[in-house]
C-alpha cells in the first residue's frame, strides 16, 4: 500500500510537534485549558491528564541565552538542564499553569532545588511547581515510598484545580496514555527498518508534547504504511538523552543511521501498558517499568546494547555524553564488552551538538574512547 496523504499529513504533524514543542500547548491554552509543564523522563503523566491538563515535557532550545540560568545553576550541571531553566526564566511560549519535576537524574533535582530557592527568596517570577520524588531501587520500601509520592501529587493536582481526581478520570487518563504506549511500541519495533534515527526521535518527542490520544492516532496513522529506510551505516546510540533531533541530524548527515537508542527520550520510551488504572498500579509501573537511564544497572544497559545491536543490525555502538552528564561513562566498558561491534565513547559534548571527529575510529578499530 502506498503512503497516502493522511500518512504524510500524520508524519508532518509529528514533525511539527517536535519542531515547535509548544504548538499543542498554545492550542490548549487558547481553548482555556490548563497546561502543565514537566521535567523528568519518569513523570507520571497520567495524573496530569486526569486533572484535565495537557502534560508537556519541557525541551531545551540550543542557542538560548543561558547566562542568567547558569549563574543560579552553577557547577557541573548538564547544559540541557541549564537550558530548561533559561526557558523558565524567560518564557517564550504560553505561561505554564503548573510545573512538575521528578528525580530522574541529578540535574533535575538540582533544577528543582534551584527553583525552590528562587521562589523562597523571591528572586524570579516562576510558575507554581511540584516535585515528585519517584525512586527506582527494586526494594519494596521504594515502591511504598513512590505510592505515597504519587498520592501526594494526585492530591496536589486536585487542590490546584479545585476538585479531587476521580477514579474514572484516572482510568480514562491511563487508557489514553496506554494507547500512546502501544503506538510507541510499534514505532520501536519498526524504526530500524523504516525510519531515519532523527525521524524516530522526532516521533518519540512528539509524544511528550501532544495530547496522548491524538498522539496515538497520529503516530499510528504515520506508521500505517511501511517506510523505506534512508541510507547510512546502522548505529546504536547510548548515553545522554536528546530532546531535539540536532545530534541525530548531524550523525545521519555524516553517513550514519541511528537504528536504536537506549536513552530516556528514545527507545526507552517503549513501556508496557499500565495494567491497573489506580495509584497502586501507577506506583508499580513507575517504580519497576519506567526506569530512567540512571536507575538501570550497567549489566542491564550492557544487555540492552547487545540486544539493540542485534535487533537493529547495528554495525557500530556509540555512547554520547554531554558535558556534565557523565554517569553513563561508568557503564560504557560493560556495554562495549557486550556489543559485538566497534564501539566509541564521546564525552564532554556540547548541548545539541556532536563533535564527530572521533567517530572515524568506528570504521576499523574494535573499540576506542574519544573526548572532544
Amino acid at each position: 500500500m502506498a503512503p497516502s496523504d493522511t500518512t504524510h499529513r500524520a508524519a508532518a504533524a509529528l514533525r511539527a510537534a517536535h519542531d515547535d514543542p509548544l504548538l499543542h500547548a498554545r492550542d490548549w491554552a487558547a481553548r482555556g485549558r490548563p497546561v502543565v509543564g514537566y521535567v523528568g523522563a519518569d513523570t507520571p503523566v497520567e495524573l496530569i491528564t486526569a486533572a484535565g491538563a495537557l502534560p508537556v515535557r519541557l525541551t531545551g532550545r540550543p542557542g538560548r541565552d543561558t547566562r542568567r540560568a547558569r549563574a543560579y545553576l552553577d557547577g557541573a550541571v548538564d547544559p540541557h538542564t541549564v537550558n530548561l531553566l533559561a526557558g523558565l526564566l524567560a518564557p517564550e511560549g504560553p505561561a505554564l499553569d503548573l510545573l512538575v519535576l521528578t528525580h530522574d537524574c541529578d540535574a533535575s533535582v538540582q533544577l528543582f532545588h534551584t527553583l525552590r530557592e528562587l521562589r523562597r527568596i523571591r528572586a524570579e517570577e516562576l510558575p507554581p511547581f511540584h516535585f515528585a520524588d519517584l525512586l527506582h531501587l527494586p526494594g519494596e520500601a521504594t515502591r511504598r515510598y513512590n505510592l505515597r509520592g504519587l498520592r501526594r501529587l494526585a492530591d496536589q493536582l486536585g487542590a490546584w484545580r479545585g476538585a479531587a481526581l476521580t477514579p474514572a478520570e484516572l482510568e480514562e487518563a491511563v487508557a489514553a496514555h496506554n494507547t500512546a504506549r502501544a503506538a510507541r511500541r510499534e514505532l520501536r519495533g519498526r524504526r530500524a527498518a523504516e525510519l531515519s534515527g532523527a525521524d524516530a526521535l522526532r516521533w518519540y518527542t512528539a509524544g511528550t508534547v501532544m495530547p496522548p490520544g491524538l498522539y496515538a492516532r497520529t503516530l499510528t496513522e504515520a506508521l500505517s504504511a511501511p517506510g523505506t529506510p534512508p541510507p547510512g551505516r546502522p548505529l546504536l546510540l547510548s548515553g545522554s538523552a536528546h530532546d531535539t533531533a540536532a545530534v541525530y541530524d548531524t550523525l545521519e548527515a555524516g553517513g550514519w543511521r541511528v537504528v536504536g537508542d537506549d536513552h530516556d527520550s528514545g527507545d526507552s520510551a517503549d513501556q508496557p501498558p499500565v495494567t491497573e488504572p489506580t495509584l497502586e498500579g501507577l506506583a508499580e509501573h513507575y517504580t519497576r517499568e519506567v526506569r530512567p537511564a540512571t536507575a538501570r544497572t550497567a549489566r542491564e544497559r550492557a544487555g540492552a546494547a547487545a540486544a539493540g545491536v542485534k535487533e537493529g543490525r547495528a554495525e557500530a555502538f556509540l555512547c554520547y555524553c554531554r558535558r556534565h552528564d557523565d554517569a553513563h561513562r561508568w557503564d560504557f566498558p560493560a556495554q562495549r564488552a557486550a556489543a559485538p561491534v566497534p564501539s566509541a565513547l564521546l564525552h564532554d559534548q556540547p548541548y545539541g551538538e556532536i563533535d564527530t571527529t572521533g567517530l572515524d575510529a568506528l570504521s576499523d578499530r574494535p573499540a576506542t574512547e574519544v573526548a572532544s
Binding site: 549563574a71 541529578d106 530557592e117 511504598r144 515510598y145 509520592g149 554517569a327
Partner: protein, 414 residues
C-alpha cells in the same frame, strides 16, 4: 599568649586511627568480615552488629595523602572507566582494581566483604556497582530521597523534632530499607543485629555530638580564636568515623576540655586578632598552611570549620526507636550541607555566631547552589570573596595569586 603546638586531641586521634586500622586490617586478613561504607551512610548499623567498617572517603583521603591517587586512577582508565568524575569517592575502588603492590598506603585496604552506599547523584550507584560486577563484592544500595518542602531552621529541630524537620516519608523509606538490610547483612557477615546495641550506639553518638556542639559553641564565643582550624579537623573527623564507641565519645570530650582550657588561659592563635574569617567550599587540601598565612601579616584567622560545625549540628537524633532515629540521621544528611534553604541559612547562622568579618567561598565544579550561598551571606551583611577553581588539587590555582587575592580582600574589608 600565642603558640603553634598541635592539639593533643588531634595527635591522639591520628595515632588511634593508625592503630585501629592495623588491627582491623590484620583481622580482615584472617578472614573477619569487613564493610566499606560511604561517608553519608548509616554506619551505626555495622557498629551495632560489631562488624568493622572502613569509611570510603576516609580511606580515599589516606590514598591521596600517600600520593597514590594517580597510579590507582590509572587502573580505572585502563578499564575504560572514567578517572575524572567523583575521583575522590572512586579511589578505594581504583585501588582494588589496581595491581597489588608493596607500597599500598598503610598496607592497603583488605578486600571488603560488602560495600554500602546511598545512590546520591548519578554516579554513586554505578561506581559502587562496579565493586560487585568487577570484583564480586556485594553492593547494598540505599535510596537518596529528596523532599519537596523542608522547614528552614533545621539545626534547631533535628535533635528532637526530626520527624517534622525531615518529614515522615523519607524517614519511613530509610527505616524500611534498613529493616530489609539487616537480614542481608547478617547473612553476608555472619554477625547478629541487636536493637539494644543500636540504642547504646545511638546514645553514645548523641553524646559525642553534644561534646562537639559545646566545642563549636566555645570556639564561636571565645573572644579570640584559641586554636587553628586545621588542627580541629582531624580531632573531630577521626572520632566521627568511630561514632558509637566509648573511645569516640571520650575523644570528643577531650577535645572540648582541651579547647576549653585554652580559652580559659586566653590563648589566641593571633595575639592581635583583627579579622575573623570563614572558609566555605572544598578545603585546600594541597595547602593547609594557606589558612594560617594571614595571621601574622593581617591579624586574620580562619575560625570556622565545616567539619566541626556539622559534627555539632548534623548528627544528634534523640528518640525512643533507635533504628528510626538512625534513619532520621541519614535520610536528609546531605541536605544539611548542600541543599538550600538548609545549607545557605545554616552558613549565615554560623557566620553570625562566629562573628566573622568575611567569608572566602571556594566554588568548584561540584559546588552546589553557590549563587544562593553568596547571595544569602551578602544579604545578611557578610562580605564574600568568591574564588573559582576547577579542582581542589591545586592544578587550577596559582597559590601566590590566590594568596594575593585573599590578602587584598582582607585589607579592603570594612
Amino acid at each position: 599568649m600565642t603558640g603553634r603546638q598541635r592539639l593533643a586531641a588531634a595527635g591522639a586521634a591520628l595515632s588511634h586511627q593508625r592503630e585501629w586500622f592495623a588491627g582491623t586490617r590484620a583481622e580482615a586478613e584472617r578472614g573477619r568480615p569487613l564493610a566499606l561504607v560511604n561517608a553519608d551512610a548509616p554506619q551505626e548499623i555495622f557498629r551495632a552488629m560489631d562488624v568493622p567498617y572502613v569509611v570510603n572517603q576516609w580511606w580515599a583521603s589516606i590514598i591521596s595523602a600517600k600520593r597514590m591517587s594517580g597510579r590507582y586512577l590509572e587502573a580505572l582508565r585502563g578499564r575504560g572507566l572514567p578517572d575524572d568524575i567523583e575521583q575522590y569517592s572512586a579511589l578505594p575502588l581504583a585501588e582494588a582494581l589496581a595491581p597489588r603492590a608493596d607500597d599500598a598506603p598503610w598496607g592497603g585496604l583488605p578486600r571488603p566483604s560488602l560495600v554500602l552506599a546511598e545512590c546520591t547523584g548519578d554516579s554513586m550507584r554505578r561506581m559502587f556497582g562496579l565493586w560487585e560486577s568487577e570484583l564480586g563484592v556485594p553492593f547494598l544500595p540505599l535510596e537518596s530521597a529528596v523532599a519537596e518542602n523542608v522547614p528552614t531552621e533545621w539545626w534547631t529541630l533535628m535533635r528532637h523534632d526530626w520527624e517534622s524537620a525531615v518529614g515522615p516519608a523519607r524517614i519511613d523509606l530509610l527505616e524500611q530499607e534498613l529493616r530489609a538490610l539487616v537480614p542481608r547483612l547478617e547473612e553476608l557477615t555472619g554477625a547478629a543485629y541487636d536493637p539494644d546495641r543500636l540504642a547504646e550506639v545511638m546514645a553514645l553518638s548523641n553524646e559525642q555530638a553534644e561534646w562537639n556542639r559545646r566545642t563549636r559553641d566555645l570556639l564561636a564565643r571565645a573572644p579570640r580564636c584559641p586554636v587553628p582550624v586545621n588542627d580541629v579537623i582531624p580531632a573531630v573527623m577521626i572520632p566521627q568515623w568511630h561514632r558509637g564507641t566509648r573511645w569516640a565519645t571520650s575523644a570528643a570530650e577531650n577535645l572540648y576540655r582541651e579547647v576549653s582550657a585554652l580559652v580559659e588561659k586566653d590563648h589566641a592563635v593571633v595575639e592581635d586578632e583583627r579579622r575573623r574569617l570563614m572558609w566555605i567550599g572544598r578545603g585546600l587540601w594541597f595547602d593547609m598552611n594557606f589558612y594560617r598565612s594571614f595571621e601574622e601579616s593581617h591579624g586574620a584567622v580562619f575560625v570556622w570549620s565545616m567539619y566541626l560545625a556539622l559534627a555539632a549540628d548534623a548528627y544528634a537524633r534523640y528518640g525512643e526507636d533507635p533504628l528510626r532515629a538512625l534513619a532520621a540521621r541519614f535520610c536528609a544528611f546531605r541536605d544539611q550541607m548542600y541543599t538550600p534553604p538548609w545549607s545557605v541559612e545554616w552558613y549565615v547562622k554560623e557566620a553570625k555566631e562566629h562573628r566573622v568579618d568575611g567569608v572566602v567561598h571556594l566554588i568548584s565544579p561540584d559546588s552546589r547552589s553557590s549563587w544562593f550561598t553568596t547571595h544569602a551571606l551578602e544579604a545578611a551583611g557578610v562580605p564574600v570573596l568568591e574564588i573559582r577553581a576547577d579542582n581542589a588539587d591545586g592544578r587550577s590555582l596559582d597559590p601566590s595569586a590566590l594568596h594575593r587575592q585573599v590578602a587584598d580582600w582582607i585589607r579592603a574589608l570594612p
